[in-house]
Amino acid sequence: MAAVVLTMTAACGSGNPGASSNGKVTITFAWWGNASRAKATVAAIDLFEKANPTVTVDTEYTPFGSYDQKIATQAAGGDLPDLITVDRSVQNEYAQRGMLADLTPYVGSTLQLSGLNSAFVASGQTGGRQYAVPMAQNSQSIVVDETRVRSLGLAMPQPGWTWSQWQGWAQQVTTKSHGKYYGFVDPGTLWPAFQSWEIQHGTSLYSNGKTHFSVADLTSWWATCSQLRTSGAATNAQLTATVDGLPDDEPLLKGHAVAEWDWDSLYTMYAAGTTDKLTLVSLPTVNGKTGMFAQPSMMLGVSASTPHKAQAVELLDFLINSPTAATTLGTSRGLFPNLQVRQSMAGGATGTVATVYSYEAANASILGPTPPAPPKGDGQLLTLMQAMYQKVAFGQLTPAAAAQQFYSQAQGIIGQ
């Protein structure tokens, strides 16, 4: 029995990855996502393989929660896939650690970046060299359940509203529904929401690879969120604590709130979860500023240690420029980076996808320039924010005390 099992498992052992036999090269491409994204991606890859018969692509995909750990383990073991999807918050870390190949030599030849917005492309640079390329674009939005809002006899929130206008409106939602729904999901745990807040106030999260936000900035942000919460406009502490990025946990979809901060690329996911009509509205403003910008939802990078850089770059170029790739990949990651292709796709878009396109089109003029990639450690601040604000929400810390703790910890984390 043991012998049988061992033989079977040995037979299942993979051969030398990337081995060239009859001139064929095999590369691996890794991404995170669920099964439907996998289907779309594999279909796109099949198209690439047809167009490039000398290249075979092995795919690896895992759920987002486990992705970074798996990549880190593979990196430590010297086993990185050739083409990797890179999360924005670790992009600089990977680049500085020498995990990603410098793509600058390929730009203009195998790798065509001219069809993308230049600031957008520049966000993939570290120290002036191109280490990563954005794979898709999204921007910030507030998802609003229009059906529920109208059922309460209220008007929809308007683009350009200030925070206090939003608060007033949200309070009305809570009152009119007799506490059944909150107006707003408390955004205090969301690091990207704080980033927009900083831009709205004319400053930024980071500068020159170090933190640029101050304790006062963070305190005012958390105080505003707390106010939303205590005034009844936003969800209570327990509901706020359920926000963890997973769609089915979103209070909007569970029917606890009618407006929620999220990336617009996730709109189709929200829409699939309810029969209500959902609308996208731009962020609340401060002095007319929304703090919205074109965000790369994820990056693509090539492993520095792969012997097949050229082929990996070819696949990369295909995934960001090819019209067939665009149609097959769909919008689960965000809008296609190549602007011309995106335009032609927008023309043919229908249903919930069309909503995302029209939202981006309507806001194109107010989108700020893409900030550079965050410094090393940014991902940790994301989770630290959740932990810290939950303490504020549950009354264990005041916004000021929590902001001070957060700030001191951030000093130890960023730019290490």
Partner: protein, 275 residues
């Protein structure tokens, strides 16, 4: 008569409470998508097998059947490994005398104490140097080399529960340690062997983290990794198929357990310890 009835009744009441979550899971697997998020009652108002169909073919290129097959290979392999290696090792610690026995026993216990998360990175590097990444080998071969100290310890305890007079008797008959092990000890600790088999199968069947780290291609994924694929920020309304596949995944382990737990009872009866 009434005592028996009370025994049954009491057990059933407790079971209802304990199994409620499982009932909820079964019910959810038969609910259409809209009902899953909103509904409070465990029973579907519209029964559907859509989730089972969708879950089966959810991933490109493979069906959930592939995940099942892979899990069976890995789990059975692990069972074989543990049964052989752990019983041999336990016998040495429980019955044989040799230098440094105490030291090695302590070392063995220490291996249970270190959390596996920390060991996995250097272990990954070792397996990679063997070329075993993306195969089932890292999940099975260590079992054949007695790395599951939990079961070594389990068997040691059971073996120490066997009266040494039996060993003595065998020795007087001229049996060396090997024959004593095979003819005397193993049959007498059959409950421990069955327990080892059951738990190894179960824990390997449900082991997410190690299988995630070592398996890269979708075609090699096992059930827990496959189930994890249903939950991701990019998707919604996959809870139905996930529940359906979880229920299917429950079946083999339940049947495995049902079949073997009886042997614990029969094994003891056959071993003749009672009288």
């Amino acid at each position: 008569m009434t005592r028996k009835a009370i025994w049954h009744a009491g057990l059933i009441v407790v079971l209802v409470v304990i199994l409620y979550p499982v009932v909820w899971m079964i019910g959810t697997s038969f609910k259409p998508a809209q009902e899953i998020i909103s509904a409070v009652s465990p029973w579907p108002s519209h029964w559907t097998v859509q989730n089972y169909k969708a879950g089966w073919i959810a991933n490109p290129g493979v069906t959930f059947g592939t995940f099942f097959a892979n899990s069976i290979i890995v789990s059975l392999g692990a069972v074989a490994g543990n049964l052989i290696a752990c019983s041999l090792t336990a016998y040495a610690f429980a019955r044989l005398r040799f230098r440094f026995r105490g030291l090695f026993f302590a070392l063995m216990i220490v291996t249970i104490l270190l959390p596996y998360h920390v060991l996995i990175v250097p272990q990954y590097a070792i397996f990679r140097s063997f070329g075993w990444v993306n195969t089932f080998l890292p999940l099975i071969v260590p079992k054949f080399l007695a790395t599951d100290a939990f079961f070594i310890f389990l068997m040691v305890q059971f073996m120490r529960g066997v009266p040494p007079e039996l060993d003595e008797a065998a020795r007087l008959d001229g049996c060396g340690p090997y024959r004593t092990f095979w003819h005397i000890m193993l049959p007498l600790v059959r409950p421990a062997l069955i327990t080892t088999a059951i738990f190894t199968f179960l824990w390997t069947w449900n082991d997410y983290f190690t299988q995630l780290i070592y398996l890269n291609s979708t075609s090699k994924f096992t059930v827990p990794v496959g189930l994890g694929l249903f939950i991701d920020q990019s998707g919604i309304a996959d809870y139905g198929p996930m529940m359906a596949m979880s229920m299917l995944a429950l079946l083999p382990v339940f049947l495995f357990f049902l079949a073997f737990q009886r042997l614990i009872v029969e094994g003891i009866a056959a071993a003749g310890v009672k009288g």
